[in-house]
Symmetry: C2
Subunit: 376 residues, 2 copies
């Protein structure tokens, strides 16, 4: 294998596949990045136990200026190789595999000789059959991920809850995540799937996926396999394992009738919650109280060792019964951040029943649910 | 005590004194910041075992818009108090000490009640006599610090070497630091001291001092006390303890005659050293080799487990005997960074004798010394 390439174009591809590479793996070859050069272009691959990323740089990519002298393949220790490429003195470099997997990297007056590993020893990625596919815009997928993945459980005691549940049926895609204290659910209309599906994707995989898309690409193709899902764009194939098991029926958790409703502007409400959580974070119980009266809405937090905070809230409208309710302000902060700068409604039944948060002016089917805390 | 003040102007002062406050102290009151309000302005104080910082905001400071309602003093837990002030909703806030050291902080609709500590329990700062003083420009002091403090020892086995040695005599200020493997020395002319002095200031104190100066102030007054040094500007008093003991005689370490000399442009040489150190950092010995021949200068590093790198260097001029010398590239990187973007000369005696690095075109008395490594 021998090629010359623009350093920055190469680094861009490398940094994408490096997302999948961990230095902590117990399989030494997986600390490496696999390079495969064909007459059509350069493939880079990185992988760990959960995700694999393959990036593809076609020979036609102008800014890469890829000059192929000899096809071939090699695996290089990812972190160290990346550091070398980043520090090279010129805008291009040449990489050549010599005898015994020795790799020579030259750029201007600098010449590195490093040890590579035979690419035949690198694990194979799953083969995808072209059925069970769905195509959606990347920005829609990124929204769904940011709207749901924060609500997955971080505890391995119920592994199934560490994933986001994706259900496609009746030309609708539903995504829902819950850690059993709060829940976030988003539904969008999708037109072009060939079959229905029901899968659970690890939350961590989704966050990496979201960061891996290139800015200039628009659509992603989702393919479901036995234990894997593949997200494919022209320049990248992103594989994630799926979580096995049955996701709980979350639909029955979401209440539909309410006794108290209050509307807020998100940034105003969020800033007040953040102030209140300063106190709750210092205390033994991380609790903030919201009190809704006819003509006053107050937020309050108390930490006997430290002090207390109270603030009269600026709201849009309020209706229904007076109410005092206590909740974890961190769940509220996460929920509000997922909505962004819009107006929302909080809908309550009574102090110890879960309450929902929904956008006011939107056709979007986006709902969040928080379970309150018992305070006495 | 009761006052109203601009939030950002207050935060600026608070962030300066917070540099001296550690949450790890064994003296609980030192996790606090002391506020003292007089009819002339607001003093904030933070302190730990090594340094104390007092900042002063006169009532005349326009952007602070300090409204004094009642003079007084209080100590507040620094980190938590700072977080509250940062999150307040309005551009100003009011702070009032109530009974039993309860402190009320109000800003718009938000009201915090937190526990303070009686300011009488806060340790007193040393009293300074107006003798033994020296006045120098802040930018000169900052240069001296950045040119020397990186070379102090980080090991407590020889505590005296964790400080920078400052000697003032004959209207010259000499600053020198060494960790016994490398040394950095800077001399400047100073005109206005009343007495000579010879002190050792902890390197860590100097780094904090350097970061604490405000941009709009020009001169700093240095006062030497028994075990302390005070750096004073109109808005800040920065106290540091001094290291006790006798600093080694570093002057005899610096050679004055040489057999080989090579001149480099700093950024070019630094980039090559950084590439070579990629390999040396991976190996067991962190060593880079420089080989100077009549018509070629090469840098080389080898790590048997990983690979090797070599590069022909771009130099300005070379003279004297051919030479091959090995050194720790991290010391060289630190030294080069202290010079900045200029041209320097390396002066060698022989492979196992310390070599010096000096600026070429400069009247500055700035010299760095590195001890080479034996490789066989």
């Amino acid at each position: 294998m021998k090629f010359t390439i623009n350093r920055n174009a190469f680094l861009e591809e490398l940094s994408i596949v490096q997302r999948a590479i961990s230095s902590k793996t117990t399989i030494p070859i997986l600390t490496g990045v696999k390079l495969v050069l064909t007459s059509e272009g350069l493939h880079l691959t990185g992988s760990n136990a959960d995700i694999s990323i393959e990036s593809y740089l076609p020979v036609s990519t102008e800014k890469a200026n890829l000059q192929i002298e000899e096809e071939g393949a090699i695996v290089l220790q990812s972190r160290f190789f990346g550091e070398i490429i980043r520090k090279l003195p010129e805008t291009t470099f040449t990489l050549e595999v010599m005898s015994q997997n020795q790799v020579k990297i030259t750029s201007g007056p600098a010449e590195f000789l490093v040890k590579g590993i035979d690419a035949d020893n690198y694990p194979h990625l799953p083969v995808v059959e072209a059925t069970n596919q769905l195509k959606i815009p990347i920005n829609v997928l990124k929204s769904i991920i940011s709207e749901t993945s924060f609500a997955v459980s971080l505890h391995e005691s119920r592994p199934i809850l560490t994933g986001v549940h994706f259900v496609f049926s009746n030309n609708e895609l539903l995504a829902v995540a819950t850690d059993s204290h709060r829940l976030s659910q988003r539904i969008i209309g999708v037109m072009n799937s060939e079959e229905d599906f029901d899968i659970i994707i690890p939350g961590k995989s989704l966050l990496e996926l979201s960061r891996s898309f290139k800015e200039n690409e628009e659509m992603v193709e989702i393919s479901i396999m036995e234990n894997q899902v593949l997200f494919k764009t022209p320049s990248m194939s992103f594989y994630s394992r799926l979580l096995e098991g049955k996701y709980p029926d979350t639909n029955r958790l979401i209440p539909t009738s309410f006794n108290t409703r209050i509307e807020f502007n998100v940034p105003t409400f969020l800033a007040a919650i953040e102030r209140a959580s300063l106190l709750s974070h210092e205390g033994r119980n991380n609790i903030v109280k919201l009190r809704i009266d006819e003509n006053e809405v107050m937020i309050h937090s108390n930490s006997p060792e430290i002090g207390n905070v109270q603030e009269e809230l600026d709201y849009k409208s309020v209706s229904g019964n007076p109410l005092e309710i206590a909740f974890n302000p961190d769940y509220m902060k996460d929920a509000l951040k997922a909505f962004g700068n819009i107006e929302i409604a909080l809908n309550f039944i009574e102090p110890l029943r879960p309450f929902t948060i929904v956008p006011i002016d939107s056709d979007e089917q986006f709902i969040q649910l928080i379970t309150p805390v018992r305070t006495n």
